[in-house]
Structure formats: C-alpha cells, structure tokens
Amino acid sequence: MNQLKIAFKNLKQYPSAMVGLGIILFLVLVSVYALVTIPYSEAVYLWRGGEDVWYQYPKYAAPSWFNFFSEKKQPISFFVNTADGSMEKVVTHNTEDISTIEANYSFDYQADGLPQEITIYIRPEVGPKFPFMSISWITPDGREIRIADMVVQNKTSYRFSQDEKLQAKLKSEKVMQVLFSDPELETPTVLKGTYQLKMIATTFTNGDEMDMEFVLFGTLSGAAGTDKYRRDLLLPLLYGTPIALAFGILAALGTSLLTLIIAAFGTWYGGWIDELIQRITEINLVLPFLAILIMVGTFYSRSLWLMLGVTILLSIFSGAIKTYRAIFLQSKESSYIEAARAYGAPSSRIIFSYLVPRMVPLLIPALVSSVPTYVFLEASLAVLGLGDPILPTWGKVINDAFTDGALYQGRYYWVLEPAILLMITGFGFAMLGFALDRLFNPRLRDI
C-alpha cells in the first residue's frame, strides 16, 4: 500500500500521467454508468431492435448542442405520448357508448428551420365500431388548419407530409412549409411562437381505449444525434466505452502476462522448451496477423470475444518474448535465484515468485501503452466490416457512417463523435504508459 502511495506521488511529477489517469478515470466512470443504467441485453435490443424501437427518432439528426454554436437554430426532435402521460388525454363520456377522447399539445417553436416531418401514431383498442378522429393545427397567429378527419381501424401512423388530401387542401406538396410559415411574407419564413396540435376522437363502444403519440422529427436529436436507421447514437457512444475498455485491457493484460510467463518458463527450463518457444515465435512472425483476424472474422464468427481470443493467441509469441528472455537469462544467474535453488525452492515458485515479479516494472508501462493498440484494433476490424454483429461499439458507428458516405454528405458528427472518443482513449492510455515507462526505467528518466 505504501509502495503504491510512493509510486503515485512520483507519478504526480508527470503532468501527462495525471491527464492520462484523469481520462482513464472518466472512461471508467462512463463505463460504470453505462453498465448500470443499460443492462447488456437492453443495450443489444436498443441497438438491434429494428424500426419498432427507433421510430420516435429522426433520421440523420445532428446532436442538439449544435444550436449553441450556430446562428440559425434548428428544430430539436421530440415525442410525447398519452400512454405515459407526457401528453394529457381527456376522456368525456357523452352517452353510455359514445365518448370523446381529446388530446391537445402546445409547444414553443423557436427554430429557424423546418422539421423533417410530423407523425401521429394512434393505437386504438376498440370494439366492433371504429372510432372517428380529427386532427387540427393552430398556428401562433391564431389560424386553425384542419389536418385530417379519419376513421381509425387499427394501429395507424399518420404522416403529415405524405397525406395527399392534405397536400391538395394546402395547395402545396411542402406541408411542413405551409404549417410553419408566416403567410403574410413573400419568402417562406418560419413563424416562431406557440403551436398547438388538437386531436379529438369519438369512440362508439363502451370501454374503448385509445392512445396517441405525437412525434416532431426535427433535424437535431438528443445529445449525440442519430444515424440512418434512426438509432440514437448516445447508446453506442456510452456503451462502446466499457466494450472498448474491456477489449483493450483484457487483450493487453492477456497478451503481456502470458508472454511474460512463457518467456520465464522457456528461460528457466531451457533446452528444447526454450528452443520450441523460439521457433514458435519465428513462425508467428511469418503469419500475417491482420489477415488471419480478417479470415477468422469472415469465415468463423465476428463475435468480439472470439476476436479477443484470437488476438491474444496471435500476439503472445511476439518479439517481446525475445526481450523478456534476454533479461530473464541475466536474472537467472543472479545470486538470489541461486539461493532459492539452494534451499530447494520448486521451479514454479522460482518462476512465479522470483522471476516474473522482477519484470513488473517493465511489464506495467508496456501493458498500459499497448491498450490503445487493441482498442483501435477493434475499431479497425469494425471499419473493415468485421465488427461484432450485435454489440454497439465505437468502431461500428464509424463503419456505418463511412459506408453511408457521411463524410461526403457533410454529416461530420456521425464520424467525429466516436472518433474523438477513440482518440481520447488512445491518448489517455498512451500518456500514462509513457510516463510510467520513464518512472520505472530510470535510465530514460533524465534523458
């Protein structure tokens, strides 16, 4: 414990180490938050669920904070529902069978741009006679526009812009423009103020239920925006953190520890074991690492955890074995090992209690510095289309954006958000690793 304190105190002299530690701590907190608030199965469901899960979000919406930085405000997407009480619903029983369900929603619209679309989702649970429903729209200057009158037979999605009757009535195909513009002005300008949506339904059977959901698809949505499938990008950004950390740290830990132990075994026993390890290392040098990973991904499975296993397997017998071996050969001859041998310590004790711990100062910086390599490896595989099929990861987001031509289309947020997170992660571990290296290897400290 005391040693740890001293190490930390020494580490404080390196500002880069503190920045790195801060970044890692932040990432760990984000991971914990993500894992606690969104269970694994829920995350997979939200990421892979299909239109039923994502329908409330607009396509290709940039993050909401874009408005802070631009003069022209864009509309932020929102949805309200009578089922969860975010939109009020008033039920009046006129006679025994006939009742009216009324839902009004007023909202303040201060954006300079038009929304992508307005949709009303109606979910009726009604008897043999279908209810009748009318929708109208009240603008800030007091005009009331009748949007639609319809018979609701079953679950209905009513999209304003796609209703041809409404287009004919408004004498324009650009429904959003008519609904949100100031009619007094020549050039279409958005009229700011409080808009109201009125929905009145009449049901004809006792016990009929009906829920309405009003979704305004803006051009901005949430803290992270959405992709082409309407998925909220906040999920992969949040949930990608624990995945990236787990992959990076597990791969780094597995690789460096196993390499160290194998090198220790080889040097301690010598002879054919050492020779075999050396030969395997050379064979491994010939094998094309990334190509094999791609083959495994294409031929077998794209599961992240399988990739992790293969990565570790292929990286164990790396050049690091030769470095460790050279140092082990030296320490094998040192007097404390001789002493251990003299009192009859078993080989396993010598390897695990005397040889391996001696390498910890060399191991830790190397381990921390190699984490980014593996974090980026996951992203690299994803960019090649070999990302895990079910997990929301940063690399997957970049891949989706890249294959959809986000850079050509100017949807930079889609690429930049995961990219910056990846970069921060990489820098965090690299900065800490470099500082640790200089701390533990005094030869480099004053250089």
Binding site: S16, G20, R279, E282, I283, N284, L285, V286, L287, P288, L290, A291, I292, I294, M295, V296, T298, F299, Y300, S369, P372, T373, F376, A379, S380, V383, L384, I398, F402, L407, Y408, G410, Y412, V415, L416, A419, L422, M423, G426, F427, F429, A430, M431, G433, F434, R443, L444, I447
Partner: protein, 379 residues
C-alpha cells in the same frame, strides 16, 4: 567477404592463419546451414498454417462445392439450349457439370492431400489461378493479380515509409545532441499521438482536406476519368497520394523520432563521443563517425524489416482511402474465400522475411567488426 572480415589481424605464422581461416569457414558454413534449415522449416510451417486457416481446415471446400452446385444448376436451368430436355436428362447434365467442375478445381480429393499439394505449389512459388478474382486485365493468374496491384502499394508504402524512416532518423540525430530543448520536449509530448493508427488520422484528413476544404480528393488512385496527358496523370496520382501518405507519416512520426532519439542518446553519452567532442571535431563528424557507426547494425535491421513490410501494404489505410493496392486485394480475396490469392500474398511475405532475417546476420558481421558470425557472443 564476411569470412575475411572476421579474421583478426594475425602477425603470426602463415600456417596458423590458414588453420584459423579453415575453422572460420567451417564455423560459418555450419552456422549458415543450420540457420537456413531452421528458417526453411519456419517458413514451411508458417505457410502451412496459413493454408489451413485460409481453407478453414477444409470447410471452405464445402462452401465451394455448394457454390458450384448452385451456379451450375442455375446456368443449366436458365440455358435455352437445354429447355426441351426432360427433367431427368437435365439433372444428369447438371450432375455431370458439377462433377467436372469439382474435378477441375481439384475438390474431389480429400483436403489433407490437397493441402500438401497447395503447400508444395506455394513453396515453389507456383501461385496458380485465383478462384473468383481476376486482375483488371482479366487474368486469373494469382501472379498477375498481385503484380498488377504491386506498383500502387509500393508507391504508397514506399513513399511514406522511406520519408518516415529517413526523416525521423535525421531529426532524431540532430535532436540527440541537444536534448531538453524545446523541440525535444515537443517530440516527447507528442509521442502518445502514435498510439492512433494511420487510417484513423486518414479519417480526419479526409474530413478536413476533402470534405470541408475540398482541396484534395477523398480517395482513389487517379481522377475519374483519368487524364489523357501523361504529366497530368502523374500529377493526379501525386495529388491522391498526399493524404494517405501524410496520415501514415503523421501516425508514426513522433514515436519514431522519440525512439531513435532515445537510442542515439544512449550512444552519444559514451566516453569516446565525449572524447571526440573534446578533440574539437565538428558536430557532423561526431554524428557520422562516432554515433552513426556503432548504431549502424540496428539502423540496418530496422530498415530491412521496414522494406519487407512494404510488400504487405496497409489493409485498412488502403480501404479507407480506396487505394487499389495489395492490402485491399488481400482483404477482398478473404471476402471471396479466394485461398490462392491469400496464400500467394502470404508466401511472398514469408520468403522475403526469411531471406531478410538470414541476410541480416551477415550484414551485421560486415558493418560491425565486434560481431562474429556463428560465434554466439561478441568478442
């Protein structure tokens, strides 16, 4: 050559010199044979493993057979020439065609036997024909497919890696003489940036220079359509080369300079360097004669290993920049289950690596008089 270099200056009798020479020759011969043998075994096992993986231990065969069955059935059923035949006759023809095709591709033999044949072909550089892919000229020969893409890859890897290598070497050399200076600190502070791979910088560069500033192309090798004029053609390639090349250089620059600098620093604090400085030699003389000379073996090793990596190309950077090189070809070959192309690209890398590693032993002895070939330890 190597043999002569390790002979120490002997002022003694002629006889003694001859016996020493013989033993040196024997030692080098024995050492070389053992090295070549182990290297050969390494290459054989490495390539065989790649063949096994690239065939999924034989599972690709099943995929192939199903694929042949599907395409043959389709072509026969859709061919108007066979329309009037009875169903039975058609089935028979389909069956026959399938068997012919399976035999033509050699899929009728068990995988164990075929894998050995693949190995033999690979080792004799008889790369054979691709299964699905073909070169732009329509050739199915793996050799042609790989050769066609080689120039593009060498252009990208060669330009970027050579600039990177020599650039960082010389910057590091000059930095090693004034450590603690401002630029030295910049390099130390910047070295964590190398934890980010080149394709990732590529992404940012595409965003800045292609998408926002619109001064450089998004990717590819030349403009579409390619310019008729020769000069314009090369200028267009050059323009497309800038971004991928820069991203490769930027991603490794800081760490590379940092590593070389640290390496040179260790040597430049040696006593004989101080001595040379005290003698009043110019700094370029000190650098060349007292720092570069003893570090030459390491520099050569790094350079040799770099040269062989040029061959592999950058799979992901090429994909991101749509650069038509070997890396992309390998990636596409994997997607097509095109084993001959995968194995072909691996075997060439394996051979280059083995030859380079073997050569390095002798190059060491050439440039560093302290190293004796096969003696195991330095004098």
């Amino acid at each position: 050559m190597a043999e002569e270099l390790v002979i120490p200056k002997l002022d003694g009798a002629q006889e003694a010199k001859i016996t020493f020479k013989d033993s040196t020759f024997m030692r080098i011969f024995r050492y070389t044979s053992v090295r070549i043998l182990t290297m050969a075994i390494t290459v054989v096992i490495g390539v065989y493993l790649t063949i096994l993986i690239a065939n999924m231990g034989g599972y690709v065969d099943t995929i192939m057979r199903n694929d042949i069955r599907d395409t043959m059935t389709q072509t026969i059923l859709l061919n108007p020439a066979y329309r009037n035949l009875s169903t039975e006759a058609k089935t028979r023809i389909v069956q026959e065609k399938i068997e012919n095709e399976i035999k033509r591709r050699g899929l009728d033999q068990p995988f164990a036997i075929r894998s050995v044949r693949y190995l033999k072909n690979a080792l004799t550089l008889n790369l054979g024909r691709a299964v699905q892919m073909s070169s732009d000229q329509g050739s199915k020969l793996v050799r042609n497919i790989l050769l066609e893409r080689l120039p593009a890859t060498l252009l990208l890897t060669g330009t970027s890696q050579l600039i990177l290598f020599f650039g960082s070497l010389f910057i590091a050399l000059s930095l090693s003489r004034k450590y603690g200076s401002f630029w030295d600190k910049v390099i130390i502070a910047g070295s964590p940036t190398s934890s980010v791979p080149s394709w990732f910088y590529g992404l940012f560069f595409i965003l800045i220079f292609a998408a926002v500033l619109k001064v450089l192309p998004f990717g590819g090798l030349v403009d579409v359509p390619p310019p008729d004029n020769r000069v314009d053609y090369y200028l267009s390639i050059l323009k497309h080369l800038i971004l991928p090349c820069t991203s490769v250089i930027v991603s490794s620059m800081f760490l590379s300079i940092y590593n070389w600098r640290t390496f040179f620093l260790i040597y430049s604090s040696e006593d004989y360097v101080e001595m040379a400085k005290a003698k009043g030699l110019t700094s370029s003389d000190v650098e060349r004669r007292y720092i570069l000379r003893p570090t030459l073996p390491t520099i050569i090793t790094n350079f040799a290993l770099l040269v062989i990596t040029l061959w592999t190309g950058f799979i992901i950077t090429e994909t991101v920049f749509k650069w038509p090189g070997l890396g992309v070809t390998l990636y596409r070959a994997i997607g097509f289950y095109d084993t001959p192309v995968i194995v072909g690209s691996t075997i060439i890398y394996a051979y280059l690596l083995a030859i380079t590693v073997l050569m390095l032993d002798f190059v060491y002895a050439l440039v560093d008089p302290r190293v004796k070939v096969g003696s195991g330890s330095s004098r």
